[in-house]
């Protein structure tokens, strides 16, 4: 059976989230941007009105202001965007359980066999687009194809609010004439190499000799040729299987901090995000690491082995200990990060007594608690339930 794969890409996601809670931004040029008073004074996400002034992501704020003096700037609220992203994924999961989130604002959906339930692919796409607009006031573009690569390519064709179908039979006409930089997976460096080789369009890559590509780009070259020919058999997977993996979050603080207790609150918030993702993927890591970047950009990372866990409480506990041991209260800190990883390459797991005993009543309790928190948040929002540590410090 031919697969049916969607790529749902949220349009101008950050600023659209802001517009969804602040209607006054609508119809005016606006952008999410780092506060120019602090260091991150760049445009993160302009809305479509702003884009008319040629304002682009990563542009410096003062340059953007030159192009459009009336540009409204909104400081970023990543927690809010993460929450909105989860809500988006929640809606998408009504259509299929097979979802792979590619980034905060896009995901692949495998809708193979769902046409009897929801109608033709285009009808399903229209339905998804409408639901996202009505329920979340957010726009999206949807690419439809029979594999992930072409779905992604299709979603890029028409923005905003586009629904584009590109099937393997269409690639000659719709994909091959495109310049190589338009191909998903090709960055500036690869583009340079390809152009030097005389490959200007995706069609050139598709026709190029495999050995030449291999010599220039290694295995990746062969993969590119396959993709350029519309061949991509990779499945849509909730959590792609990896031998070693890691989940981490870091935050450049709005201002430098020197207070350990304040740092702990930030760390807790980050640990919570790491924990949520780890539990979502049912991934238990056994190394917790923290990153402290000081205002002079000196960066330290420290790690600690823990017993395999996906619990926020355990991740935070290890992170807190590392933070306490490595905190230098004489130096202001600009960035904090925490990560959970494992280097389990063993295909075998040695059962051990502690897991057996600890996964029994008492240890299971914390797991149940955190999983319950996750599902409550999924339904009602991140802020519905909070840890006391974060609450208390927000109040004073």
């Amino acid at each position: 059976m031919k697969r049916i794969i969607f790529l749902v890409d949220m349009n101008a996601f950050f600023i659209s989230c802001e517009m969804s809670r602040n209607k006054s931004l609508k119809g005016k040029p606006a952008a999410v941007a780092g506060d120019p008073k602090y260091r991150s004074g760049i445009i993160l996400a302009p809305n479509y009105e702003a884009r008319k002034y040629n304002i682009k992501t990563t542009m410096l704020v003062h340059e953007a202001k030159k192009l459009c003096p009336d540009l409204i700037l909104v400081p970023p609220d990543h927690k809010f965007y993460s929450q909105k992203s989860r809500e988006v994924m929640g809606i998408l999961s009504r259509y299929t359980p097979v979802i792979q989130q590619n980034s905060i604002d896009e995901a692949w959906l495998d809708l193979t066999g769902c046409t009897l339930l929801f109608g033709s692919p285009r009808e399903i796409a229209e339905n998804i687009m409408k639901t996202l607009m009505v329920e979340l006031d957010l726009w999206c573009s949807i690419g439809i194809s029979e594999n992930k690569f072409l779905a992604k390519m299709a979603s890029e064709r028409k923005k905003p609010l586009g629904i584009t179908e590109i099937w393997v039979s269409d690639i000659k006409e719709k994909i091959w004439p495109l310049p190589v930089r338009e191909m998903y997976g090709i960055g500036k460096q690869t583009e340079k190499k390809l152009v030097e080789m005389g490959l200007f369009t995706i069609g050139d890559i598709a026709a190029c000799d495999q050995n030449i590509l291999y010599e220039a780009l290694g295995k990746y070259g062969i993969e590119l040729k396959r993709l350029a020919n519309g061949i991509d058999t990779s499945p849509v997977e909730a959590s792609p299987v990896q031998d070693s993996k890691s989940i981490s979050r870091s935050e450049t603080l709005a201002r430098d901090i020197t207070d350990l207790e304040e740092a702990k609150v930030v760390l807790m918030e980050l640990a919570e995000e790491v924990g949520i993702q780890a539990r979502e993927q049912n991934f238990k890591g056994k190394t917790v690491s923290i990153t402290i970047r000081y205002s002079d950009f000196k960066t330290v990372t420290r790690q600690k082995t823990v017993k395999p866990t996906f619990l926020t409480k355990e991740i935070y506990k290890a992170g807190e200990k590392l933070l306490e041991e490595n905190w230098n209260d004489k130096k202001p800190v600009r960035l904090l990060g925490i990560g959970l990883s494992s280097n389990i390459t063993d295909k075998f797991t040695q059962l051990n007594l502690f897991d057996i005993i600890e996964s029994a009543p008492e240890g299971k309790k914390q797991e149940k608690l955190e999983l319950a928190m996750d599902s409550i948040r999924k339904r009602f929002g991140m802020d519905v339930i909070k840890r006391a540590k974060i609450l208390k410090d927000n109040d004073d």
Binding site: F348, T349, Q350, L351, N352, L353, I356, I357
Partner: protein, 366 residues
């Protein structure tokens, strides 16, 4: 202090007490051996974790005491010719003169003041075992003690007495070794955890000794008293793992097998399953038709071993770290054993008769 004894006796004594001397101690006095000539000649080593004293047969001409560096003194005694050794300590010069045959040493010594005395252990909770039995109890459990410093309590061996039944238990989380012995006489109930290191040292000392050993324990200390030597060790504090609940009673398949044959097969399979860089691959057990098939398939190659067994229950496949089996089977003296398998969960090895031991091994899941 002035005395004469045979080199052999002195050498044996020094060897024993040296096991309690820590070469790394920051206090020079703890790197020493205390030599005390009273009514008898007594040597003592004490690193504050373990303390050992040993009585050595000797002729004492002049009483007194002194501390000598254990490593140097031990080496000297070891290399002396087999003859009588005389030790002469002059307190004023601070020098010990060692004479043996035509060798003469003058070594600097330390005053015995400040050498920590062995802690007194109240003579309660006492019982007595033959050294050969104690040796077995230790040997048959100690290999399973943990090495994880974060679970310090498991680096020791649980010794518990209940209703005249003496249990030695060691476990590292992946396996449990349990050895039982019924004591005669009226033994008080107690439960204590002895550091694995202590038991290892006792095992070494007991290797060539046959005698009765009286064992006393108090809240913090345990004393092994063999008459001519005494060993005192601190105990590990904390709650030992509740092992009783962890050993399953149920099983899916039971086999009876020749211990040595099984050991040899697994040892051979281990040649393939052991990998460089310390990573082990599992060996797979497959039970069917009164046959135990042991296989391992790794980047090195593969191996297949077949054993005839008496089998009860269903066919079954399960994988283990072979080392856990090897270490247990090596210490089992019984010719035949029963092994109880479960497809997911612990496997137990028990004697075909009686209940003198249980080895439990958790499988590897693929």
């Amino acid at each position: 202090m002035k005395l004469v004894c045979s080199r052999e006796n002195l050498h044996n004594g020094v060897n024993i007490v040296q096991k309690a001397v820590s070469a790394k101690s920051t206090m020079p006095i703890l790197q020493g051996i205390l030599i005390e000539a009273g009514d008898t000649l007594k040597l003592t080593g004490n690193d504050l974790e373990i303390g050992i004293e040993c009585v050595v047969e000797s002729d004492i001409m002049e009483k007194g005491s002194v501390v000598v560096n254990a490593k140097m003194f031990g080496e000297i005694i070891r290399k002396l010719p087999d003859s009588d050794v005389s030790l002469d300590y002059n307190e004023e010069s601070g020098i010990v003169v060692i004479k043996c045959g035509k060798s003469l040493f003058k070594i600097h010594a330390m005053s015995s003041e400040g050498f920590p005395a062995l802690p007194e252990v109240k003579k309660e909770n006492s019982f007595s075992v033959e050294s050969s039995l104690l040796r077995d109890l230790i040997r048959q459990t100690i290999f399973a003690v943990g090495t994880d410093e974060f679970r310090a309590i498991l680096t020791g061996c649980l010794i518990e007495s209940k209703n005249n039944e003496l249990n030695f238990v060691a476990l590292d989380g992946f396996r449990i070794a349990l050895r039982k012995h019924n004591l005669e006489g009226d033994i008080p109930d107690f439960s204590l955890v002895v550091p694995g290191k202590t038991l290892n040292e006792i095992l070494k000392i007991l290797q060539y000794t046959d005698c009765d050993i009286a064992i006393y324990n108090s809240k913090n200390q345990i004393l092994f008293d063999a008459g001519n030597f005494k060993l005192v060790s601190r105990l590990l504090e904390g709650e030992f793992f509740n092992y009783r609940n962890a050993i399953p009673e149920d099983f899916e398949t039971k086999i009876t097998v020749d211990t040595k044959e099984l050991l040899s097969s697994i040892e051979r399979a281990y040649l393939i399953s052991i990998e460089e860089q310390g990573r082990n691959y599992p060996v797979d057990f497959k039970l069917y038709n009164d046959t135990l098939m042991i296989t391992s398939d790794t980047t090195k190659g593969s191996v297949k071993e077949e054993l005839e067994v008496e089998m009860e229950g269903s066919d079954l496949e399960v994988s283990f770290n072979p080392l856990y089996f090897i270490e247990a089977l090596r210490v089992i003296d019984d010719e035949k054993i029963n092994i109880y398998f479960r497809s997911i969960g612990a496997c137990t090895i028990k004697p075909t008769e009686g209940n003198s031991f249980v080895y439990m091994i958790l499988p590897l899941l693929k």
